[in-house]
Symmetry: C2
Subunit: 254 residues, 2 copies
DNA sequence: CAGTGGTCTAGACCACCAC
DNA sequence: TGGTGGTCTAGACCACTGC
């Protein structure tokens, strides 16, 4: 129906380099030729190559460093299993780092998690779900997760201090089964979950921590865990570089 | 830890315009000032404004048309409910257009669906799942979905001809309960589902149909429906402009 | 036709890296 | 220090819209 119009030079250059990456002509983890050389090879100005590479950078295909060059992203896409993350057996067989370890190891990479626990004023959205005033202190458990030393996820969990204070939840290591098992021990077993997944540009702080560009995208996954009575006992906000992840789920009809 | 470095001009311009859109200074559906005027107002060159707008365009915040101007995206983000899409009650109460109608109407917009049914050679990935040879004809049901006349989704379903031939599945209107109910009538009730969600740039054909830019992103959702015996009886590949959607799910622990 | 955005030119300067 | 990418300049031409 619509007439084929020839795309602009920089889009053609981007498409060409994208193909070369996908066909392993530029293998994962190696450097591209420098922009001047690409421009000469393809008969375009450096600005055009630069614009094309900016496009590939925003897709997460390459990463550029001033003074060094442009390298093909060394990390493959990680498959996040959205099916059984909260399942009890998964928690107990894999320990408190949850499903992340398995997801990364499946790709023959080395997972790594750094945990930090503090108390901090509740952000507005957290306060609203917990039914407390904005700024009321809550327990904040922050995790940074790496695959082969590349940051691929930030997860920040909030728990009401009323529940967590003085318990193992305030320790870095929450013990076998992790946070949800401790909440269960305390009589607040999470049974009902909701999850909202959004896509947006990272703010500059997120971009820094995840060593991303602000032209890239992050998934924001907000999960609320509630007891059978409906009380919200934990909120986790995960930030993931979008180009680094895909989601898989399985389920049976009721 | 890292020193605050001032972002480049075009990023500052993009941030400013982004804020103006979010604060309704430039309301949804209205035109921005033209690039020359923005450049004058902000004391930068037009190229810089142009680069900033390209960024916002790739985020789906604005849409530019040569000769006309740049308009704020008139359509709000649609929330896709990933919880009960395959539930029988949902199918029967809402008819064969499924959950899409409800999702769009919830935002006070008008849903619209165009259906096209053909036979076509099975693509490689479809053939593999069905266990047939690539190129074997299969039934292909294509739907284009609109919210207030804006295309927001393409869905392409594949069904083995062996099952579908000569049945209502080859009609545009599959009747009450839709495709899955007809499959059930035929003794192939879908009971097990898997779904893979990926993010990528649209190819030029997808960009055309969804009137998108190739600097934007689409979700690709591939769902496989199987019988209790494990036979794949339907595959649906949905393409969604990523900036137009978010995903919501709820579930109970087992 | 004039008005708009999309792209490209042919430079230039700077920030950052490795040495 | 020289090599690299990131950004900006001050134009220019073109594609497309609406009159």
């Amino acid at each position: 129906m619509s007439i084929e119009r020839s795309p602009s030079e920089y889009r053609q250059v981007a498409a060409l380099i994208r193909d070369r990456i996908k066909s392993d002509f530029y293998p994962r983890g190696t450097f591209l030729p420098r922009e001047d050389d690409l421009a000469d090879e393809l008969g375009v100005k450096r600005n055009v190559v630069s614009k094309a590479l900016a496009m590939l950078r925003s897709e997460g295909l390459v990463r550029s460093t001033r003074g060094k060059g442009t390298k093909v992203n060394p990390i493959p896409v990680i498959r996040r299993n959205a099916t059984g993350r909260q399942a009890k057996h998964a928690r107990e067989s894999e320990g408190n780092r949850g499903a992340f370890d398995a997801e990364v190891r499946k790709l023959d990479m080395t997972p790594q998690v750094a945990v930090d626990v503090t108390r901090a004023p509740a952000p507005a959205n957290v306060a609203e779900v917990f039914g407390i005033n904005e700024g009321t202190p809550v327990l904040v458990r922050s995790r940074k997760m790496f695959a082969d030393d590349v940051p691929v996820q930030i997860a920040t969990s909030y728990i009401p201090l009323e529940i967590a204070d003085g318990t193992q939840l305030t320790e870095k290591d929450t013990g076998p089964g992790g946070t949800y098992s401790r909440l269960a021990d305390l009589g607040h077993e999470p049974k009902r979950f909701s999850e909202l997944t959004q896509l947006r540009v990272p703010d500059s702080s997120e971009a820094g921590v995840l060593s991303m560009d602000t032209s890239q995208r992050v998934y924001v996954i907000t999960r609320i865990a509630r007891t059978t009575e409906g009380r919200a006992v934990e909120i986790t906000e995960s930030i993931l570089p979008a180009h680094q992840w895909e989601f898989y789920a399985e389920w049976d009809a009721e």
